[in-house]
């Protein structure tokens, strides 16, 4: 029966992506029901498995259980295959005849260097959809530039818009924001290409530059440059016409609440939530324009009110008055946000060597969809036999020979065993 949450059921994806942006795209495709086969070489495997060693004694197969891997690879299958060898490439060619989509986020030149050009891919499967996600695209003078999320942010214009405003320093986002953005866009690109294939019978090549996608989230700044030759000021947590509009300190350790007032009605709500203090009746706070002009003083007074209270109590008072506000949730807190909890946003993920922990479920909710999480990230090479044997018809002996030759493997080569792990600080 059709699961409306899984419209890509029946689509098979050869997933050559690594690290962040590509795997985020493939995660969305897998959540939507596509059969995503994550292909890694026994030697050039996805670094995400070991990039951040666990903060506890690593389990025996820690490259399969690492929290970072599971953020990106639930609901996928794993095939280890050396695409740099002739034998591996021949198997890949065979696999392609069963695939609809190839997706990769290598450096611009890597696919061609491996001989996996669009022309070659099309020779194996004429209507194949190929998505390349190089940071700066496949053409142009900057095509050979490389970059992870923060570089994408910097070179897209994003970073130039962010900062406290008092020191001229541009700030990057806390996450590698360029990566999920490119990933979501690539998932959209695959769906539109499938629609186009249904219309025309043709596949296509998609050259998706991560930096360009990020830049589409900044349209008004391009317009201001075109219209007025003006570059954005750093607004900090302030706003160009709302006040109060800021984060205010609360009782607790580095606890904050965001509060915004857009209208006189919301100002009245804030006053009631604060217990109608006398100072709020002063003339300089009597309308929006005056409040904005006196925003520094206003921020200080609102901050005095919040500082004595827990952020959840401030939020409850403002929620009752329908004033836009939210606690600045920390990572452990957002996992327990009562609202997200009531919507079942986080779903349990089970892994035999880890136990149960919670991960985000559906990015968007489709009425009548089944549960989002069907499987944790696969073990390295977990589906070798299923794909090589059941799908491609290779015998057990042929598979053993491939393993002996190092074309496939059940463990990433060169990975440190748990007992060999040095104790070094994590990059996070």
């Amino acid at each position: 029966m059709f699961d409306p949450g899984r419209p890509l059921t029946g689509i098979r994806v050869a997933d050559l992506t690594m690290i962040w942006a590509g795997p985020y795209a493939a995660k969305i495709l897998a959540d939507q029901g596509a059969e995503v086969i994550k292909i890694e070489s026994p030697r050039a495997w996805d670094n995400i498995r070991t990039l951040l060693p666990p903060p506890v004694a690593p389990g025996e197969h820690w490259w399969n259980t690492n929290f970072y891997l599971h953020e990106y690879s639930r609901n996928k299958k794993s095939l280890s295959l050396d695409l740099g060898s002739d034998e591996g490439k021949a198997i890949f060619a065979k696999l392609l005849t069963h695939c609809d989509v190839v997706i990769e986020n290598y450096r611009t030149d890597v696919m061609d260097n491996l001989g996996l050009t669009y022309e070659w891919l099309r020779e194996q499967k004429e209507d194949i959809i190929v998505v390349g996600m190089a940071g700066f695209g496949k053409t142009g003078p900057e095509k050979d530039a490389v970059g992870y999320g923060p570089i994408i942010e910097m070179t897209s214009g994003m970073t130039s818009t962010s900062g406290y405003g008092d020191d001229g320093v541009p700030y990057k986002s806390g996450i590698s924001y360029g990566d999920p953005i490119a990933g979501i866009c690539a998932a959209a690109a695959v769906a539109t290409a499938l629609i186009q294939r249904k219309r025309t019978g043709q596949g296509q090549y998609i050259d998706l530059a991560q930096r360009e996608v990020m830049s589409t989230l900044l349209g008004e700044f391009y317009m201001d440059w075109s219209m007025n030759q003006r570059l954005p000021d750093h607004m900090g947590t302030g706003h160009d016409w709302m006040a109060p509009h800021n984060v205010y300190p609360c009782a607790g350790d580095d606890d904050w609440i965001a509060i915004c007032v857009r209208t006189d009605r919301e100002w009245e709500g804030l006053k009631r939530a604060m217990g109608s203090p006398d100072w709020a009746e002063r003339t300089e706070f009597s309308d929006q324009i005056l409040r904005w002009e006196h925003r520094s003083e206003l921020d200080e007074l609102v901050g005095k009110w919040t500082a004595a209270m827990k952020k959840t109590d401030v939020f409850a008072a403002l929620h009752a008055e329908r004033v836009p506000s939210s606690p600045v949730w920390k990572m452990l807190e957002v996992l327990r946000d009562p609202h997200l909890k009531s919507r079942g946003f986080y779903e349990p993920l089970r892994h035999p060597e880890v136990g149960i922990w919670s991960v985000h479920g559906w990015l968007w909710r489709v009425d009548g969809a089944g549960p989002c999480i069907l499987a944790p990230a696969p073990d390295f090479g977990q589906h070798n036999a299923e794909i090589l044997g059941d799908l491609l018809g290779l015998s057990d002996q042929e598979q053993s020979a491939l393993e002996t030759a190092g074309i496939i493997a059940s463990r990433p080569e060169g990975v440190l065993l748990a007992s060999e792990m040095p104790t070094t600080p994590s990059m996070l």
């Binding site: 970072y68 910097m154 866009c185 609440i257």
Partner: protein
């Protein structure tokens, strides 16, 4: 399994665009829904944008040429609404609702961003609109989704940034949490909505079955907390703000003419050290990945000194030459003049009758299978006559009556 949908292609002629012939009703204001609708229109959809009679509020946000406010020249509106048709409807009138029902009957996709419960309360919810059309795809985009205790709580970019956990991670560790620039919660939700609609529409084409999608801005943004979230969840460890530098080789630095940066993973180190060329980078305390983070402060001091002697373009070229992840903090002036981006046809470049010469992102990706429309945005109600009279068959005198009743 993978062959099932390519055996009978619908057409073999001019490839056209993926959403050619598909009608989209956009009942969405602001950024998220219009952003999604903008790309559907660029990919061929006939996007009929239903505006309240006073217009999408984004018409009242700038920037405007020479800072002169005008409903027809808002940069934000012009950016987000290219290639759409504008019809004004007052859904508080029964005539307005009837016209909407008639329009919905011809639509394959509906995008809406009203407060949860509003459309259903006016008998315009998914159940009503899909009753004669089971293949209808409809998406609701709201700050907190359709259900739960915050569903009807008003929100802003700032409060959504806080509620998603993103704000906690952004900014200097010794200063308050920081919001990143622009309207990122809304934009990223719009991109998610575009992906959601595209996937759901493919399902509808293949299975003749539509779907109703509830998209929460908070949730799509909370889902991007990457390692920080899963580490908290699996190991109970809280994350800290790291400002501009997660470590010496991951962050933003001042250079001689602005700001630049480096994002090197351990495997990028050899190339990085060679590109920089300082002999001390070859010493074990930095070159050995096991020791590097233990000597992070010292490495960072070296990096501050090295970066300040670089230029933004110099860094970019060094990165290209050595395939090392260097970058620079680009301005919109840099980007608008970029030969690289212009050569890749990234920009819509138009001379607008009212707004003047404009350069702005005009596509998402390059495809061998289709191009992108990069046309202008409609004026308020520009297509009332064309749609209500020409397509729905209302008489011209009906239009006068509807206008007098404040329905259009």
């Amino acid at each position: 399994m993978s062959e099932h949908d390519r055996s009978q292609p619908d057409a073999q002629l001019d490839p056209g665009r993926p959403f050619d012939g598909v009608r989209v009703l956009e009942l969405a204001e602001g950024i998220s829904g219009p952003y999604a609708g903008r790309w559907l229109a660029a990919l061929g959809a006939d996007v009929v944008k239903i505006e309240r009679t006073t217009g999408d509020p984004s018409r009242a946000f700038g920037p405007w040429p020479d800072d002169l406010p005008d409903d027809e020249t808002s940069g934000l509106f012009l950016y987000l609404n290219g290639d759409k048709r504008s019809v004004t409807l007052n859904l508080e009138t029964s005539d307005g609702r009837e016209i909407l029902r008639e329009l919905a009957a011809s639509a394959e996709i509906v995008i809406e961003s009203f407060e949860p419960g509003y459309l259903a309360g006016h008998n315009l919810g998914y159940d009503e609109l899909s009753s004669d059309k089971s293949s209808l795809v409809m998406i609701s985009i709201t700050p907190f989704g359709q259900t739960g205790p915050n569903a009807n709580l008003p929100a802003t970019e700032l409060t959504l940034y806080a509620a998603s956990g993103q704000m906690w991670l952004t900014g200097h560790p010794e200063r308050p949490p920081l919001k990143n620039g622009g309207s990122q919660p809304s934009y990223q939700a719009g991109l998610n909505a575009f992906a959601a609609i595209s996937g759901a529409y493919y399902g509808a084409v293949m299975h003749k079955q539509g779907s109703y999608i509830d998209l929460s801005v908070q949730e799509t943004y909370a889902a991007m907390a990457e390692a920080f979230h899963n580490r908290a969840s699996q190991h109970g460890i809280e994350a800290q703000r790291s400002g501009n530098n997660l470590n010496a080789l991951w962050g933003v630095y001042e250079v001689s003419d602005g700001y630049g940066g480096i994002c090197a993973l351990p495997r990028n180190y050899p190339g990085f050290a060679k590109a920089v060329g300082l002999p001390e980078l070859q010493e074990d305390r930095f070159a050995d990945p096991g020791q590097r983070l233990l000597n992070n402060d010292e490495l960072m001091a070296i990096m501050y000194g090295w970066f300040i002697g670089q230029t933004r373009q110099g860094l970019m070229q060094l990165g290209i030459e050595h395939r090392v992840p260097f970058g620079f903090v680009a301005s919109f002036e840099d980007l608008s003049n970029s030969d690289h981006l212009k050569g890749r046809d990234f920009f819509a470049e138009r001379n607008d009758d009212q707004a003047g010469s404009l350069t702005y992102p005009g596509r998402l990706w390059l495809s061998s299978g289709h191009d992108w429309k990069m046309g202008r945005a409609p004026q308020l109600g520009e297509h009332n006559v064309e749609v209500i009279h020409g397509e729905l068959g209302y008489e011209r005198e009906d239009l006068v009556r509807l206008r007098e009743l404040d329905a259009i």
